[in-house]
Symmetry: C2
Subunit: 341 residues, 2 copies
Amino acid sequence: MTSVEITERRKRATVKDVAQEAGVSRGTVSRVLNGQPYVSEAARSAIEAAIARVGFVPNRAARSLVMQSSQAIGLIVHEPHSLFVEDPNIASILLGANEALSEADYQLSCLIADSPRDVDRLARYLSGGLIDGVIVVSARAGDRITAAVAELGLPAAFVGHPRDIGDAAYVAIDNRGAARTITRRLLDTGRSRVGMIAAALDRDSGADRLAGFVDAMGARFDPQLVQSVPFYSFSDGRAGMRELLERAPDLDGVFASSDAVAAGALEALREAGRSVPGDVGIVGFDDSSWALRCDPPLSTVHQPADQLGRAAAASVLAQLRGDTAGSPIVLECPVVWRESA
Amino acid sequence: MTSVEITERRKRATVKDVAQEAGVSRGTVSRVLNGQPYVSEAARSAIEAAIARVGFVPNRAARSLVMQSSQAIGLIVHEPHSLFVEDPNIASILLGANEALSEADYQLSCLIADSPRDVDRLARYLSGGLIDGVIVVSARAGDRITAAVAELGLPAAFVGHPRDIGDAAYVAIDNRGAARTITRRLLDTGRSRVGMIAAALDRDSGADRLAGFVDAMGARFDPQLVQSVPFYSFSDGRAGMRELLERAPDLDGVFASSDAVAAGALEALREAGRSVPGDVGIVGFDDSSWALRCDPPLSTVHQPADQLGRAAAASVLAQLRGDTAGSPIVLECPVVWRESA
DNA sequence: CTGAAAGCGCTAACAG
DNA sequence: CTGTTAGCGCTTTCAG
């Protein structure tokens, strides 16, 4: 026995090899591979043995080529760099989608669009036949990815609801309704000067949460009490709270448009020496891992991120089976009342 | 113009269509597609025009089949469910790898192994020719994925260094050295009863961080002051700290083996009414987004997660070019001294 | 410089 | 029930 390491990849066995080894034709091998009926027990077991013996694994490129399908679904994350790192929702959506696809024996491939260059490459990749459908997370209206997906006519499901996806499938939560509910609750617990840190107004979720806030405030709504910030991030939350405090030192309640934003706001409040929930009550949105980590734990809206992922996956799968896109799916998101308000 | 929506995917144009449209042969089209020389200017421009006109996009499945390569690299995340959601390092690694691959015009496909079923499907997927190489994140010794990758002989690079990857490429940080350094620092600032919350001892990183701690403690090492917990998580950090406090109420310093663990420990310390850094000093590891969020901000070891991703990607790319796996890459990770100790 | 033809590995009719 | 025969869309000799 020599000590030479066999590092190079040896040529992989093909159906032909299996056929030879089992003494049948390639057609028959293909049949057992695809679990088709009309194969004799003898042939089947001979082939199965042969497959094990030669270590055969089907070549998916070849199979995709002839089947015009790949049993793989892409999940596109189009998120500003830093946010992907901070946002626990994305990972949950990913995990949920993966579970649902896994059950259907589909492979999930998570694709990142982090630069214009990425977007171009992705568009080519998607149309290359290696992906049967896509789930698009955190798209904004006007995204090039959205356009590319639409043009390709690839089965798709969006998580969230950018305005420009036409009649494409989407799964979402009722951001506006939930925002309204939690804001009312803040009002009902005796807060009178309630402000909002409104993040990501360029996204449907951000805009809708603001709309819900406005709904709930009704006549009491004061534009001075709304601070808009670009992202659902801790640092934007802190910055937004500082602004708000400056403009309205008398506020006693805050609706932060995400838990991360609320966590940042909490920090700013602490710096400013305000107690929570004593001086000011604060509520978030998402019920992500941030919520429990905060001190005090956040009252917030529970967002079933993994279910969003599951539902989006189910939608793509349904489209693949030939169903039409179907009606939008809107998931429940109950308020979770903790100690921050 | 009718109002019928063209929803169905129309048959995509092929090289043949382009060739016809441009009045040349498929071979010539292929040549311009691949930027090969020996094509007349006339033919080239005719073909380019034709490509645009018919909206041709090459079919990657077909190309992969004949080229035996797909220009796509997989990144396998094999992490306990919840951790993937909580660990900001993974996203950073992902982003770093994506950047490096993007520059080389490779597509990154992030693959999740979240169940035994996933692992099986993944193994098949990897050997299907749709992926040219893999980056494996957060593997533990004995992982089936590791075995599958090895058996396939797929170019691979590990982030971290499980003991059983043989001479496969890996990029890592000097966990042991860094742990030693930061523990010493804790000692040097006057702490004498220093404990450790040691997470993930089944991982090289976890075991090495403990080893570094033991190194630094030298004669002062007391096994009673080490609490082992399963994961690098907030909740395990909190639980571990409670244990430690019970066993050794007199401790005045803690090395938490990750920032998330430190954050959890901080929480337990707060519950127990200990001030930080007054009563007890605490240090973490990772310099992730947790570190700055904590109150007080954590002294910790900076882990260049995005660089790990970049380096792993570079290694896979090099192997694809035919280089040997090369020597392991070990990245610097300086201590960042903040306020928690 | 370009066309014709072979074939990557697999599945899907279609006769037996 | 099984073998044979076409391709899927692309690249790549090999002659011209």
